[in-house]
């Protein structure tokens, strides 16, 4: 653009600062809202697709009790009485359903660590308990539930060091008791154990995890960075073993140490010493641990925890509904109606994704409507501005400006307004888009979609903004010069 012509444009722009500013604000609001809407829809679809790619959504979950909070996936459960007792034999139902390629148990568990902090806390609680207790002889046993929740070590029996108290959360099913544990750990015990290079003292209070059967690892597609998963043989033993998620494993490592160095070492927990046999590659299961889900001697999972979930993994998601029906038929025959909840997390997730997509589509439609109205108005104002300049356009043409040069002049004005509006719109769009996504519970949105939304919205606005340029690209100079 030749400098004198550009000066005319820029000085007209600044001379009408208020009008130009309002135009930019209108464009910014329109682009901000529309790009947020576009980004929301794109992120909703993308996030939904990603979610459904997870192995978790290729499973049918068979549950013995209907507590929605016990589920790891968004499933709708009807409350049922826990009359049915799922057994390891029920995993054999997989054999009757051709589409199932893995069947496993996955139940919540928790590992409470013993360290200086936990010992101090426990000692303080004991002191408080002693102060409140009635004189000896009147001492009554505290209610079992209270005692097990508040100070599990107080209830510990047996004398071998390094084993867990019974009744602790996630304790060994079937009441099998690992050998040897003290009534309580003292700071001296802790120091003695810490001195042993094979025993690890965690700085954490506790860790979440799962009790699983071996096929869990195959179904979830995770791999070990060090050591191994547990095998079918480990399911019948009594030794306490665990596979750690990557982040959890790192919490036991000194800087520079490799995960391999943890294999064979033991973690001191309230349940006793737990031997690390594997460390997972970094992935979705980073902060959790896995331990074998062991049935009682008879092979059932009876009453070990309140809820037992059997999971049947299907290779082809298209066959999930069919598989659910087949499993329903089998479990109804085994336990009767209303005793077992069979859920299809993928169907639930698809319903949620579909609802969110619909909402995002509506929001995008409304925001694009807003952008359309803003763009039409901006175009009208730009047209009005350019009509006021019509006579000067005729003069410019008499002085030697071609129609295409005139069109470029107005296109440049529209471009400047659109770009300034797009920049401001992007500043609006990023927090607005994030807020809308979080309100719909969509994780993992990317800025790329926001940028794409800004680009598409800016192109729409620019297409309207170019109308004056288009009109002036056909103007007759003599006609323009006759304008008032």
């Amino acid at each position: 653009m030749h400098s004198e012509t550009a000066k005319i444009l820029s000085r007209r722009f600044t001379d009408r600062f208020m009008e130009s500013g309002l135009l930019i604000i209108a464009v910014a609001l329109g682009i901000g809202a529309a790009s947020s809407g576009i980004a929301l829809l794109a992120n909703t679809i993308s996030s939904g697709r990603k979610t459904l790619e997870s192995p978790t959504y290729r499973e049918i979950v068979v549950s013995s009790v209907g507590e929605a909070d016990d589920m790891t996936e968004p499933v709708s459960l009807r409350p049922v009485q826990e009359n049915a007792v799922l057994t390891s034999a029920d995993l054999d139902a997989a054999g009757l359903v051709p589409a199932v390629n893995y069947a496993y148990v996955q139940n919540y568990s928790r590992m409470s660590f013993i360290n200086e902090e936990s010992i101090s806390r426990e000692q303080a609680m004991r002191a408080q308990f002693a102060a409140q207790a009635p004189p000896e002889g009147d001492f009554g046993a505290p209610p079992a539930g209270d005692a097990s929740e508040s100070a599990p070590a107080l209830e510990a029996s047996g004398g071998d060091p390094g084993a867990a108290p019974e009744g602790a959360p996630g304790g060994s099913p079937g009441g099998e008791e690992p050998p040897g544990r003290p009534e309580q750990y003292s700071e001296e015990d802790l120091a003695a154990m810490a001195a042993e290079s094979s025993i690890l003292i965690s700085e954490l209070e506790e860790a979440r995890g799962y009790k699983v059967t071996p096929e869990f690892f195959s179904a979830s597609g995770v791999d070990v960075a060090a050591g191994s998963f547990f095998s079918q043989q480990d399911m019948t033993g009594s030794s306490s073993i665990a596979v750690l998620g990557h982040e959890l494993a790192l919490s036991f490592l000194e800087e520079g140490d490799e995960p391999d160095s943890l294999i064979g070492k033991q973690i001191l927990t309230r349940e006793g010493l737990v031997t690390i046999i594997g460390v997972l590659e970094s992935g979705e299961q980073d902060e959790v641990f896995f331990e074998p889900y062991r049935s009682s001697g008879g092979g059932d999972f009876r009453r070990s925890v309140m809820n037992t979930q059997l999971r049947f993994s299907v290779s082809d998601p298209e066959k999930l509904d069919e598989t659910a029906l087949q499993l329903q038929e089998w479990f109804t025959r085994q336990f009767g109606e209303q005793q077992i909840v069979i859920s299809n997390p993928r169907a639930e997730a698809q319903q949620l994704i579909s609802r969110n997509t619909g909402l995002a589509l509506l929001i995008m439609f409304l925001s694009l409507s807003g952008l359309f109205i803003a763009s039409v108005n901006v175009s009208n104002i730009l047209m009005s501005r350019s009509m006021r300049m019509k006579k000067h356009v005729g003069i410019l043409m008499a002085l030697g400006a071609s129609r295409s040069r005139i069109a470029k002049l107005f296109a440049l004005e529209s471009l400047v307004i659109t770009m300034a509006g797009a920049l401001a719109g992007m500043i609006i769009s990023l927090p607005l888009g994030n807020y809308m996504q979080s309100s719909l519970g969509i994780d993992g949105g990317t800025w790329a979609f926001t940028l794409l939304g800004v680009l598409l919205s800016a192109l729409l606005t620019l297409s309207f903004g170019l109308l004056p340029a288009r009109q002036f690209s056909r103007i007759d100079p003599a006609l323009a010069m006759r304008a008032a």
Binding site: H2, S3, E4, T5, K7, I8, R11, R12, D15, K391, H392, G394, I395, M397, A398, L399, G400, A401, S402, R403, S404, R405, D476, P477, A478, M481
Partner: protein, 227 residues
């Protein structure tokens, strides 16, 4: 230099057509000083616009230096307007956003003249019309006579073959109008062809030729005999 043959110009007003120029044939020679005269609505401005390739013709031929430029593409027409013609308007038509200097530089920018050269040339031209002290002033800070002098400097910026002046003194008091006439005549004496539309018979008589129009028809031309 310019030869128009059998030019007709009609304006389409929906169901009716208005004929603005009827079978006009005209030659403008290099160095001519011609006045176009006639009553309002006679087609003076239309003829002026056609001479300046600002308007299309309905039929006929336009030759510039024996080249038929009747239906050149827009870009080529713009180049001819820029490099061969200079325009002066009754209401000056300077750009209020630009200084006197920048207004004169503007046509040179379309000809691709580098910034420093066009600035020097604009300074020289403004000095030539007596405005060396007003170069950085905006048009709104100048009198009508000064603005028209800037317009003359702008018209001359690309060293044109022909100056087309549409009632150049129409908005000026008589003393300022006389100054403008003298400047134009001075450039004509230096060889610049001047074609001027005027209502003023006295100004018309100062030209070498008077082209008279009535109802779109060119009347027989009368040689101006100077005393």
């Amino acid at each position: 230099m310019i030869r128009l043959t059998n030019i007709n110009k009609e304006y389409d007003l929906g169901e009716t057509k208005v004929s603005a120029l009827k079978d006009v044939s005209l030659e403008i020679g290099r160095g001519d000083y011609a006045a176009i005269m006639g009553p309002s609505g006679s087609g003076k401005s239309t003829l002026m616009h056609i001479l300046g390739i600002l308007d299309t013709i309905s039929s006929g031929q336009y030759y510039l230096e024996d080249y038929d430029i009747t239906s050149l593409p827009d870009r080529e027409q713009a180049r001819i307007r820029n490099q061969h013609f200079g325009f002066i308007f009754q209401s000056f038509n300077l750009f209020p956003e630009l200084s006197a200097l920048e207004n004169v530089m503007l046509p040179m920018s379309y000809a691709g003249v580098p910034w420093t050269r066009r600035k020097d040339r604009a300074r020289d031209l403004l000095a030539e019309v007596g405005l060396e002290h007003r170069m950085t002033h905006l048009p709104t800070m100048m009198s009508g006579g000064e603005q028209q002098r800037v317009a003359i400097a702008r018209a001359l910026s690309n060293d044109p073959d022909l100056i087309l002046a549409d009632e150049p003194t129409g908005n000026l008091p008589s003393d300022k109008g006389e100054e403008i006439m003298q400047i134009l005549e001075g450039f004509n004496r230096k060889g610049v062809t001047v074609v001027m539309v005027t209502h003023n018979p006295a100004q018309g008589e100062r030209a070498d030729r008077v082209i008279r129009l009535k109802d779109g028809v060119l009347l027989p031309e009368q040689e101006v005999v100077r005393a």
